[in-house]
């Protein structure tokens, strides 16, 4: 296993794309958060005037940054198939599940590091920008602070969320084996259900938000009105974990029984 980990680490480390994508994930996440915080203007007493969630708003960049993380994880395996490297990898390490596990461990570790930086950046930008958007103490909103229990949970949860997105993407890419197809599937799976949820109503919408990987997983970012969420924060992250576990399980099986 150590050898497998080292081999995968070398492959991942020496790809030029990896460091760029990690950097892009951090920059995109923080920039999106900052841009939306800067564009937000909450008028006190207006519709939804007291229902804003500053922490969730500060972390909104994760919605976009996850796409970069997904691509990073997809490329880790699909490029091996594209170049034929996968045959060499599997010849060197005949226990295929170990290869997949080593890849997953490396990708997750890198993603968690980038996600920690990104989340910290988001919280700092939210702390600096949101008070001027009308979410200040005069209107009953506290500053975004990591010492606040739910905010800490949202921040840690966002890091874990991105890690799980990487695992889900790796799993899907191992099943689909093609960069373009895997990227399309992952992004569709993440972004389409929230759109569909906006177009339907009632219990269907609630169920959709409970089972969709993005909607359920991002429940972890909510710090206010958590009672009215379709799914509680940790349960929501659990749904995403189940998606990732399912994808890895199927991909592990597929990798074992299929020809490379």
């Amino acid at each position: 296993m150590t050898d497998a980990l080292r081999a995968e680490w070398t492959k991942l480390r020496t790809l030029t794309g990896t460091s760029w994508l990690l950097l892009a994930a951090v920059v995109v996440t923080v920039a999106a958060s900052a841009a939306i915080a800067a564009a937000t203007h909450v008028s006190p007493g207006g519709p939804g005037g007291d229902s804003q969630d500053p922490t969730k708003l500060a972390l909104v960049g994760v919605d976009l940054g996850q796409a970069v993380v997904a691509v990073l994880a997809v490329l880790a395996i699909s490029e091996e198939y594209a170049t034929g490297m996968i045959s060499v990898s599997l010849a060197a390490m005949p226990r295929r599940v170990v290869v997949l596990a080593a890849k997953a461990a490396n990708i997750t570790a890198l993603t968690l590091i980038a996600a920690t930086l990104a989340t910290a950046g988001c919280l700092i930008s939210g702390r600096l920008l949101l008070p001027s958007a009308g979410l200040d103490q005069a209107h009953g909103y506290a500053l975004v602070s990591i010492t606040h229990g739910p905010t800490l949970r949202a921040a840690v949860g966002s890091v874990l969320y991105l890690g799980l997105i990487a695992l889900l993407s790796l799993g899907i890419a191992t099943i689909a084996r093609d960069t373009a197809v895997s990227t399309g599937i992952v992004l569709g799976l993440l972004y389409l259900p929230p759109l569909l949820a906006q177009l339907v109503t009632g219990s269907l919408r609630r169920h959709l938000e409970q089972i969709a990987p993005m909607s359920a997983g991002l429940a972890i970012q909510a710090t206010r009105h958590t009672k009215t969420l379709p799914i509680p924060p940790w349960a929501g992250l659990g749904v995403l974990a189940a998606w990732a576990a399912g994808a890895l399980l199927i991909s592990g099986t597929a990798l074992t029984i299929r020809d490379a």
Binding site: A39, G48, V71, V74, T183, L187, G188, A197, L199, V200
Partner: protein
Amino acid sequence: MTTSVTSSRNGEFLAALRAEWTKFRSVRGWMIALAFAGLMIVLFTYLQANGKHEGYCTTRNPNSCVTGHPFVPSGPGGEAVADTFRFVAHPLIGNGTITARITSLTGRIWAGPANEAPSLADTRPGVTAWAKAGLLLTPSTKQGSAYAAIMATGGHGVRFQEDYTHDQTGLPGPILGAAPRWLRLTRTGGTITGYDSTDGTTWRRIGSAHLSDLPNRVDVGLFATSPVTYGGSATQATANFDHVAVDPGATVGTAPGGWLGQNIGTGLDDFYTTLGTGSDQRSADSFAVTGSGDIAPAVALAGGDTASDSLLFGLVVAVIFLIVIGTMFITTEYRRGLIRTTFAATPNRSSVLAAKVVVVGLGGFAVGAVAAAAAIPLAQHVMKGNGDYLFPAGPFATVRTIAGSGALVALTAIAALGIGTILRRSAGTILLGVVVFVLPTFTGPGIIGPTSSGSVATWLYRVTPAAGFSVLGLLPRSGLVSYPYTMANGYYPLPPWAGLLVLCAYAAVALGVARFLLLRRDA
């Protein structure tokens, strides 16, 4: 010589086109994905249409609630109209004239909470800008009938209007005791002419209308109505008339029972929200008429559903499929090195790019248009079966929606092809394609939050590729109705052609950069 050069260029392009078409159609996965994308459009349109169930309550008692939609009249042109007012009618046989002086126009505005049924118990005085009172001529008192009318309005001066959509301006200014307005309608055959005057002696012609198939006996009379405000409050208007005269035939007072006051369309089954019930009082040749409602094009207040609204999600799904196909159409050539063979066979690289654009564009257009052509009638059928109200769409608007859906899918596929040519990598192209062409469509209420979503969503649908979805917009706007024509009410901020043009611009920029790099770079 020029001719032969041109024809050889054309020949090269046609050969490239044939080559690209062969490459495109012989990848079985792409063909399956194209068919699947079309199926997704139909499937999700069906699901979305089927999820719409309307119902309404005739009183605040929940037992009075029924499924289906309250009645929305259709105007002479088949368009949805509001036709709800108080009418004090008098028969007119053959040609003739009705004249009256309007001395005041006042009103009341519902001041209670928005979620309660409006009643006169909680109102404030005020007259809305499109409160209307005046003289009206119509062959029938049925809702949606043809008509011509001259009227004083709350804030738009004297107007001559016919058949809900046509409008001509007369004397400006509000009706005050010191500035009454004389109004006159004259019928000559099928032509109705409207006049106004400040003194009853010098008349000024405002305009005329031709009502086809007008019977010999028509109704003329006094009317009053007052529409829902921009903010959504029901209103009521009261107008005082004197010097009322119908010529020929019975003048006021000589024909007992000649005048008949009635509510047109005011009722619990009518879609239009009214304040109070209409009434009229008469003394000799003076009348006071009170009414609520509107005589104008209906807005989405009537239930803004159209079958094409149901296309949105299916199209987004199809767009993702076509982004992947458009990307792979070029990136797989780079991956496999086929691009060198392609350029060796067709040295004019612009021709290759153009051929790819045509092939992937036609593929996308076919999928979008064929699926929309199948999905729209299906959605209409399902929605009718559910008792939903379908905002009427003419054949032109339906064809526009079908062609627009095809163009939307095609342009996105072409843009993906352009980005793919620039980046030469699948993952980055699809990432960029989805982020730029799909995410703006629903970034807004779901992500940014309820407060800022209104204006942010509007801007996203103006300047991002999401503007292309304006081709789904069918609801007509009217300057004769004060109504918030917003995204939330089902109105796209851009007209269909302008929205498509925005998407075109994105595709054109991607292609332009792609062509520049393609000519400059080594393959």
